[in-house]
């Protein structure tokens, strides 16, 4: 474990699904990059994504030479009998010299805390710690140094939590906007037989089909279940279960029962988040392309630097990132989101 500096507020934590994306994020100015191995030990266990132990080692070296940190996501829940896979991943992470482990399972947290007492632990959003008491439980028992907050709190609520906890806060600021409490969702397992918690899988691409119906509409399906249906002139969206349209007794014509396909963009709220005591800003999207990573990281780099220098950030670039798409400030702006 190296002694990379985590003390500077406004840390930009960026995603990398491949070594190339990691180098791109470093070059675009990421303070930290989070990534995972090519297996069930992390919550983005998608085909073609993630790192081998050798790739991680080389990537950590690349990041450290340029002053960036690497955070290893070990943030799924090992089912009984498979704990060794998570322990091996922790060993590989230690050997690669990662700067922190992002964990959710109490057994995994305790294992790393006892076998590698110097290791820095971050509490994953998958642990769903949304109160000062829950966060303190992980801090006091496992020495957790940072919590990634669930995307369900308003800024005043975050400010209140910050006063009552002994660790740093990281919040998501951009990207895909999950609706269910992370680490407590079995929707994908119900339909496909692969678990988000145990396998790191969410609405897996291998189970997705797009079918043209007789009336010209397009159905997007997951494991045979119609998650949404689109008119001929609409663009068919990916069938993520919590972003689909369903019929309910009061809504016979189909409605977004949970949430619309929408992106989180807190560009405008960055100064408020920093004032509330948020230490690190997380960008979602380990599954996204290099060019996406470059564009998003660069834009947020400039904005955070402006705020650090006491200037109002130019939010034009940040707003442009989601131009033409639907964007939201989610729970952060108002309780009415709930």
């Amino acid at each position: 474990m190296t002694a990379e500096d985590f003390s500077k507020a406004g840390e930009l934590v960026c995603p990398a699904g491949t070594p190339a994306a990691l180098r791109t994020a470093v070059d675009a100015g990421a303070d930290s990059i989070y990534c995972g191995f090519r297996n069930a030990t992390n919550a983005r266990n998608f085909p073609g994504l993630n790192f081998t132990p050798e790739e991680l080692q080389a990537s950590v070296a690349y990041a450290h030479e340029r002053g960036s940190k690497v955070l290893l996501a070990l943030n799924t829940y090992p089912p009984a009998g498979k704990v060794d896979l998570w322990r091996e991943a922790a060993e590989h992470g230690m050997r690669a010299g990662v700067d922190a482990f992002i964990v959710a399972d109490m057994g995994v947290a305790q294992h790393i805390a006892t076998t590698h007492p110097g290791a820095r632990l971050h509490l994953s959003v998958q642990a769903a710690a949304s109160s000062p008491e829950a966060i303190r439980y992980y801090c006091e028992n496992f020495g957790v140094r940072r919590v990634v907050l669930p995307r369900i709190l308003t800024i005043p609520e975050i400010k209140q939590i910050k006063r009552d906890i002994p660790c740093e806060i990281e919040t998501f600021i951009f990207g895909n906007h999950g609706l269910m409490v992370e680490g407590r969702c079995s929707l994908t397992n119900w339909m496909t037989g692969l678990s988000t918690n145990m396998d790191g899988v969410c609405s897996p691409a291998a189970d997705v089909t797009y079918d043209r119906e007789a009336d010209g509409s397009m159905s997007s399906r997951l494991a045979g279940f119609t998650i949404d249906r689109f008119a001929p002139e609409e663009t068919a969206g990916y069938p993520t279960i919590c972003k689909g349209r369903y019929n309910a007794p009061h809504r016979p014509d189909g409605y977004y029962a949970f949430e619309e396909p929408i992106s989180l963009n807190l560009g405008r709220l960055l100064p408020d988040l920093m004032a509330a005591g948020v230490h690190a800003f997380k960008i979602e999207g380990r599954q996204r392309s290099k060019s996406y990573v470059r564009q998003v990281v660069s834009a947020f780099r400039r904005a955070v630097d402006d705020i650090r220098e006491g200037q109002a950030p130019d939010i034009g670039d940040l707003v442009a990132l989601t131009e033409g798409q639907k964007e939201t400030q989610g729970a952060f702006k108002t309780k009415k989101w709930r």
């Binding site: 995994v108 949304s130 159905s219 369903y246 729970a331």
Partner: protein, 302 residues
């Protein structure tokens, strides 16, 4: 193996709950009853006054009573309710959120299904912190249940698995019941009370698939592990949990009890269950490591 009745997930009126628990106290062959509001803190005041009465009734009926805590703890009133419950010495508590673990410290408690006790290391950790009993997450496959049960048994913990009722699939900060009626959580007007067995969601081509219960999402079909009871018992699972649905739960408990005591075969019990739960389909996919909604025909032993 003992049968238990899990907490009511829905917003039933106080009267409905009192009647329900009175009948359970008198007639249901379950050893333990869990009660308390697990899903939405806004509902809790509606049963606050009557809960001691329900507890007393159940205890007089010979039931062991456990009070379950909220799965999601975010607002001040949820933090307070969780701390108050965790501080109680009046009854056993089942904790469903790490905030409750923090307040309870090392005093004895049960671990609820929302605490993600998926493996032997986590269960050992929890046992060291005062856990006496653990209810495993509903989605765990039999292979993992067997190993977790063995570990729990070795530590002297009770271990429990859901064998009946809709699968709890997700919770959110947002209320989907309110959303369906174009309201928000703060101004929900308790519209969830209209759906005592959850609000159905169907796909656009008419396949019933999910149920909304306030901030919770459940499965449309009921989990039913009658044919798997024997295997669960063999693994060392000590308690089988029935989740209350808006059907005759005494009849449900009787069907499971009849299989456990060897009076009738699982197939016969299932036929009885089907009569008591018209328009309901049953699932057991999670147990077999398959998609949860599936119903796998169990192969004959040997």
């Amino acid at each position: 193996m003992e049968l238990t009745l899990g907490p009511v997930a829905y917003h039933w009126s106080a009267m409905k709950k009192l009647d329900f628990y009175a009948r359970i106290a008198d007639e249901a062959p379950v050893s333990t009853v869990y009660l308390g509001e697990v899903i939405c803190s806004k509902r809790a005041p509606f049963f606050e006054r009557e809960m001691p009465q329900a507890i007393e009734r159940l205890q007089r009926g010979g039931k062991r009573v456990v009070v379950s805590s909220l799965a999601e703890v975010m607002l001040n009133r949820e933090r307070q309710a969780t701390a108050d419950l965790a501080d109680s010495n009046d009854f056993e508590v089942e904790i469903n959120n790490a905030a409750g673990l923090y307040a309870r410290g090392k005093r004895p408690h049960r671990v609820g299904p929302f605490l993600n006790a998926y493996n032997e290391t986590t269960i050992a950790w929890m046992a060291g912190q005062g856990a006496t009993h653990v209810c495993l997450p509903t989605e765990m496959p039999a292979t993992a249940v067997a190993l977790a049960a063995k570990a729990a048994q070795g530590l002297g913990l009770g271990v429990e698995v859901q064998v009946f009722g809709r699968a709890p699939l997700a919770v959110s900060a947002r209320c989907y019941h309110a959303r369906a009626h174009n309201r928000t959580k703060d101004n929900c007007q308790f519209v969830c009370e209209d759906d005592p067995d959850g609000m159905p969601l169907a796909t656009r081509d008419g396949t019933a698939i999910l149920r909304v219960n306030g901030i919770q999402t459940q499965s449309e079909s009921y989990i039913e592990l009658l044919a798997e009871l024997d295997e669960l018992r063999g693994m060392g699972v000590t308690h089988a949990r029935l989740l209350p649905q808006d059907v005759d739960m005494v009849a449900v408990a009787n069907a499971f009890d009849a299989v456990l005591s060897g009076r009738i075969a699982p197939a016969e019990a299932r036929a009885q269950l089907g009569q008591g739960c018209p328009d309901v389909s049953f699932s057991n996919g999670f147990f077999y490591g398959e998609a949860g909604y599936r119903h796998i025909q169990r192969r004959a032993a040997g």
